[in-house]
């Protein structure tokens, strides 16, 4: 290596300065780590060389199979083969495993390529430093440099790797399923799965029962998200206003009492409320009977079931709203109210002109997030009604199913994986639109130059 460099220097005698950066960069393009060796960073170079041979080994041995797997989703079906006189069952390709394994290989290689890119950049930079007469870092120095100046990049890559493999990869897998014919009637290992383009997307709009279900369920999902967000906001606001009134004693007692619905795990309290609203044996109908009133089909009537859901959601979510609004109320300077009193403002006017704008100012982005969260409020609907009462007009959905619970049924109960994926993609597009919009408008994102 050293000799080689000497001759190079010999050739380019007229230029006093050797173009270290170019040589180093070119060498690292050839093989990760070479550039670092050239820059006399031996420890780092050897580490990178080992890493790159691992990466190249993976790429050579696994990439062709991964690409083949993703492109074809397997070629051999499970079949019977004649061995001697008897037929034996031979396992074919498992399309779903091929897809997931292929994705994992590709993701590993993406990480590798990214490292490769950084390696070239590093070699170039070190070479440049050498040209300018600077000393190169030793291994220990490089480690120190990394800990000091590359801390955020290194540290953020830890959570990012987890996200890459346990969130992004599965989501891409799910998106890809939408373009296949993967359903319970056509699933590995018995059958092979094929790519079928946008067929499922077309079907969901063209087949009447699917499109009808989709539009009805989507409509209810939006109504649900809107109703739940509004009721819990208004309710929480009202309770907060009352608790914070001057004449109320034992404020912290009341607050603790009202936090109960939030403190009890929602999973448990939803199951409890399901029984409380039980039409036949539940206590609420029992009390109604005792008062001589007609019983209410809380969970068995389509409309009432929706109302019950909104009521239960209100019970679960007003405490958080109350807590947040109490916090905001405490920040409103009292002299504003005093000034309003001087001007003879009524209580309602003060509420409308001072309290409400202050609360809205802080709460608006949170309300949007709440709305988005309610679109995906899976647990409540799944546990309370399970989408029931059933609706025979719908494809695999009940009256109270929202999109997300419908997807669950399609996936877990019905095995309509490709349809579930298509609906998942719809939700994702709508949600990310809302989310990005609201996030971009929040201070936490805009702020940046902080005090």
């Amino acid at each position: 290596m050293y000799e080689h460099r000497k001759t190079l220097e010999g050739v380019y005698q007229p230029h006093k300065v050797v173009e270290h950066r170019k040589v180093a960069a070119v060498l690292s393009v050839l093989l990760m780590g070479l550039g670092q060796l050239y820059n006399r960073q031996y420890g780092k170079g050897i580490m990178l060389l080992i890493f790159s041979s691992l990466g190249i080994y993976t790429a050579v041995t696994r990439l062709p199979h991964a690409v083949w797997g993703i492109v074809t989703l397997g070629e051999k079906e499970r079949h019977l083969e004649k061995v001697g006189k008897i037929y034996k069952q031979v396992m074919g390709d498992h399309s779903i495993f091929l897809l997931v394994e292929g994705l994992i290989t590709i993701f590993l290689l993406v990480v590798f390529v990214w490292m490769y890119f950084l390696n070239i950049k590093d070699a170039y930079r070190t070479g440049k430093a050498r040209e300018e007469g600077g000393a190169t870092n030793t291994f220990v120095q490089s480690m120190k440099y990394v800990a000091e100046y590359r801390f955020p990049q290194i540290a953020i890559s830890i959570p990012m790797l987890g996200i890459l493999f346990f969130t992004i990869m599965p989501i891409i897998f799910m998106i890809l399923l939408a373009f296949t014919n993967y359903t319970i009637n056509n699933q590995p290992p018995a059958h092979l799965i094929d790519w079928q383009g946008f067929k499922t997307f077309k079907d969901i709009f063209a087949i009447k029962s699917w499109s009808h279900t989709l539009s009805s369920v989507a409509l209810w999902t939006f109504a649900w998200a809107l109703l739940t967000t509004l009721t819990s906001f208004i309710g929480g606001f009202a309770v907060a206003l009352v608790v914070q009134r001057k004449e109320v004693r034992l404020k912290s007692f009341w607050r603790t009492l009202f936090i109960l619905p939030y403190a009890i795990p929602a999973f448990v309290s939803t199951l409890i409320l399901k029984n409380i609203f039980n039409g036949q044996f539940g206590p609420i109908n029992q009390y109604l009977k005792m008062l001589g009133l007609p019983v209410v089909p809380w969970l068995s009537d389509p409309t009432m079931a929706k109302v019950t859901l909104v009521i239960v959601n209100f019970w679960l979510s007003f405490p958080v709203m109350m807590l947040m609004i109490i916090g905001i109320l405490a920040t409103i300077p009292s002299d504003m109210y005093e000034a309003a009193d001087m001007d003879g403002a009524s209580g309602f006017q003060k509420l409308r002109m001072i309290t409400y704008p202050a609360v809205m100012f802080s709460m608006a982005p949170l309300l949007v997030m709440q709305f988005v969260g309610n679109i995906n409020n899976f647990n409540l609907i799944f546990l309370l009604t399970g989408g029931k009462p059933g609706n025979s007009d719908f494809r695999f959905a009940g009256h109270t199913d929202i999109l997300i619970t419908w997807i669950y049924k399609l996936t877990i109960d019905q095995g309509q994986y490709n349809f579930a994926s298509v609906i998942g993609i719809f939700i994702f597009i709508i949600l990310s639109f809302f989310a990005v919009w609201s996030i971009r408008n929040t201070k936490a994102f805009k702020e940046e130059e902080v005090k």
């Binding site: 997931v100 540290a155 987890g162 493999f165 399923l177 009890i264």
Partner: protein
Amino acid sequence: MGGVKSKKIVSITSVYTFLIIVGIISIYPAIWVIMSSLRVGGSLFSESLIPRQVTFVHYKELFAKYDFGLWYLNSLKISVISTIFMTMLILLTGYIFSTFRFSGRKTLMSTLLVLGLFPSFMSMIAVYILLNMMNLLDTHLAVIIVYVAGSPVFFLFAKSYFDTIPKGLVEAARIDGANHLGVFFRIVAPLSTPMIVYMALLSFTGTFTDFIFARLVLSSTETKTLAVGLYDMITTNFSNDFTVFAAGCVLIAIPVTILFIIMQRFLVDGLTAGGEKG
């Protein structure tokens, strides 16, 4: 003057009536389930709210008929380990996004936030296969890994809290020679206790009560968690065992509820910090 006074009395009465009604609504399900768990017999229906005869037999049955004690330990184990790592990861992510400026930072932040909106079970099939390939199905490690790996998407709250910590403090410590992790543990973390407690509490309850993912991965009775056990209890043999189920609810809810009530101060601080920042 008398008119003003009587008006005041009316307003105080209506305020307290309102508070009492909301209070009853808030506490009723808890009272009802506690009372149900003490009732003789197994049915959901009862003549009165307060049982005529009090019995603790359902609590005993919980441990005799089901592996309730084991489930409890499983849940505690999974939740405590996950909470520690989840909180660390969320804080780390939030801290980096709050303190450092590096290229691709905003893109990463938006990506994480959008990913956070994706309901986790939609990607379950792939995660299931991945865990199968790693030979981790039906182990607690699998559940912990998935909870922890997915947690950074909830970084925004931590980030907005860290944004409120004056940068001058951090810089001063850096000048004094502290490294990044030192600054974080000695300066930033102690200043963020309410938020950290809040994060830990949310992580704990989230993992303690998750039944969807845990049910998918943990199939045998020895690995079952409390939430899965309780859910199975009510979906399979609910009709004659309601009171036992109620007892189970009480035992699950008590630790979490007490935690929440004790941590109330942190809760209010944590929540409102998020509220003000938006």
